[in-house]
Amino acid sequence: MKAPAFLRGLVPVGWHEFYVNLRSVRMLIMIIVLALIMVGGAYGIGRGSSAGGPSIAPLVAWVHPAIGTSGEHIAVAWVSDPFGVPLPGATVSFTDLSVQPPAPLGTTSADADGFVRLAVGNRSSIGITVRTGNAESGSGVFFDRPVENFTVETRQEALDTDSVPNDLGVHVLGRAGVPVAARLWLNDTYVKDVDSRGYGRLELPLGPSNVTIEVAGENQTRAVFTSKPLPSPFFTVGPDFVLLIMAAGFATFVIPIFAVVVTFDAISKERVQGTLDLLLSRPASRVGTLLGKFLGTFAAVALPVTLVNLAGIAVLTAVSGKGPTGSFALAFLGLSLLLIAFYIPLQLIFSTLAKTSGTAILFGFLVWLAFNILYPVITFVLSSVLFPNSFQAQFQFSQVVGLGNPSSIYTQLVTFAAPEAIRFSFGGGSTLSLTAVASAALVWFVGMLALAMWTFQRKAAE
């Protein structure tokens, strides 16, 4: 198949660029650097995030003040996991908190149903600590209020897969510290009875609710409130946030370096080593030659970058126990390629203009510096001067001005792709529409590639 005349040379030049670049020493060095940053980052932060531990405590001490037959105070603890399954054998320690320093009252183990009871005479403040393995939980029992015919402990958490803290655990004991039959109502609607150990769980609607516990005709009503979770610290959000750091924090800096290092002398090297005239005298159009240079270097950078990114995601998945959101991971892979595609034509322009290796290196360094350091700093300073009193206006200004910076366009697109819960958690997010940012991306890429072709046509041989 013969290429159209204006594209002649694309395939030979493209293959040559791809082949020569993939075998170059600098490619090897950049792959190692990228892997250290991306895979190492995924491992380090991912591991850090899992070391932060799950937000749900592995064991819960439901503590109740009870009154014995002769009127003595009894501190009762029922030990369970967060889902109401008893943990028999858990170690339970009691402490008298009414004296200074607090005095230990003894340690014992939970019985087969997870219960521990200790008569504490007339002491009024008892600390209870429960332990299984490395996990520990503590609570206090106070006898300073009149004990009704039953006592209730509740705990509101996100226990199922919706990530919303709308699961209300309820534990009910009779006045004597033993389980009693209890009915649970939610907003005046009967839901269920507690189990034989006094535990029941309700799923609450968003907003305010009333939960009523009914024991032998006696009611106790509690007001509860459920809201969507606020953005959480990253270690509770997990792999998506780590991927956001990898994409917006690491990739945005290191991928342009990769592209610049491979492309900075794509044309100037041919000129300096004297192969350019031989190339230009071949039956190849200037457009075909330049596009071949672009596609060859793009493929040579895109291949290792994608492989390293995939390795990073794999390591992140392995150390976090679960993978990032699929669509976000895919978008990250795609946007990394876009970032490469932004920088290569830009670098080809400067490589065409550079007459010596030194100038080419300088241009390469300046391009990276300009868009990754200078542009953001100048934008920040300008936004602070122009809008001293409005952070919102500064942010908006930075994002609009950022459309002139390929790295900023990339970051904004990454935050568009990130799951909603973490979108704004890394100084990201965009006040602009996706259409606006995507259009800027297209204009940048097409504009730079066209300018590279024009420059090459005019200046390659001069």
Binding site: K2, G9, P12, H16, S24, Q273, L278
Partner: protein
Amino acid sequence: MDGHFVPPDVIEVEGLVKVYGRKGGTRALNGVSFSVPKGDIFGFLGPNGAGKTTTIRILSTVLAPTGGTVRIAGHDVHEDPMAVKERIGVMPDEVSFYPTLTGLAHLQYYASFHGIPRAAAKRRAIDLLGQVGIGDVARKKVKTYSHGMKKRLALAQSLLHDPELLIMDEPASGLDPQGMRYFRDLIRFLNGKGKTVFLSSHLLSEVEQLCEHVGIIDRGRIVAADSIANLSSKMSAGAPIILHVTAEGITDEAIAAVTSISGVTGATRTANGLDVTVQSGTDVGPDVSKALVLAGARLKELKASERSLEDLFFALTKGGRV
């Protein structure tokens, strides 16, 4: 030209102008015109900075001219560069290659531009590398090649697609005497197979041995374009001739006798005898010998000087400025 039958011109250059930079930039070529007939070995001479390389780069379609026209085998280099590129083989002065590729890989890469199928390209590349004498290093990286090997590789790549015109910039520069002879013989061989050769060289003796026609460029203008013989006779017209006399026993009387001959304008002693300056168009050789012998000198040799290409070059380029 000669007035004889002139074969169709492979290269036709008319009023070629090249200005580097914007308006007011360096004017490298200032109305260059010449033509090269088919089957010729055309020598292109000029001092450094005269515009040789610029002309070659325009002929090679690398550089766009600012003005004028250049046609190669009837195709305009600017209007139809692809047709020109298919017909030319370029051997640049600087023989530079991709250091980490082998000689064979270079030829395969360049062959891919000409649409030569892979297998055929490989066969052709191996053949050519053998023909130019570097078949044994075909699979070695070019960075291990000597200068001479690179020159041979440069020649091989220019022949890949069997072009009708070879544009060679200093093909013998930096070569040892064997290498220079090899290239000279090869150029004759290729010319014998019908290829037109455009040869730019600093080695005037080489051009003199190989070329019938030459073009001499100086300060962006063609100062002469003709056969060496024609140029020589044109340049000689009206110019005084020097007779180199080798003799012993030349006395002052002998010199006086010689200078009294009609047509002789001067005589100066040399280490071996005497240089006699004679007006153009006069044949006073026999008179000079006779006068010397009669004055008692023992005459060994009398030779009229010929104008070499080097003389022409220096005369036309005001000292050469090489």
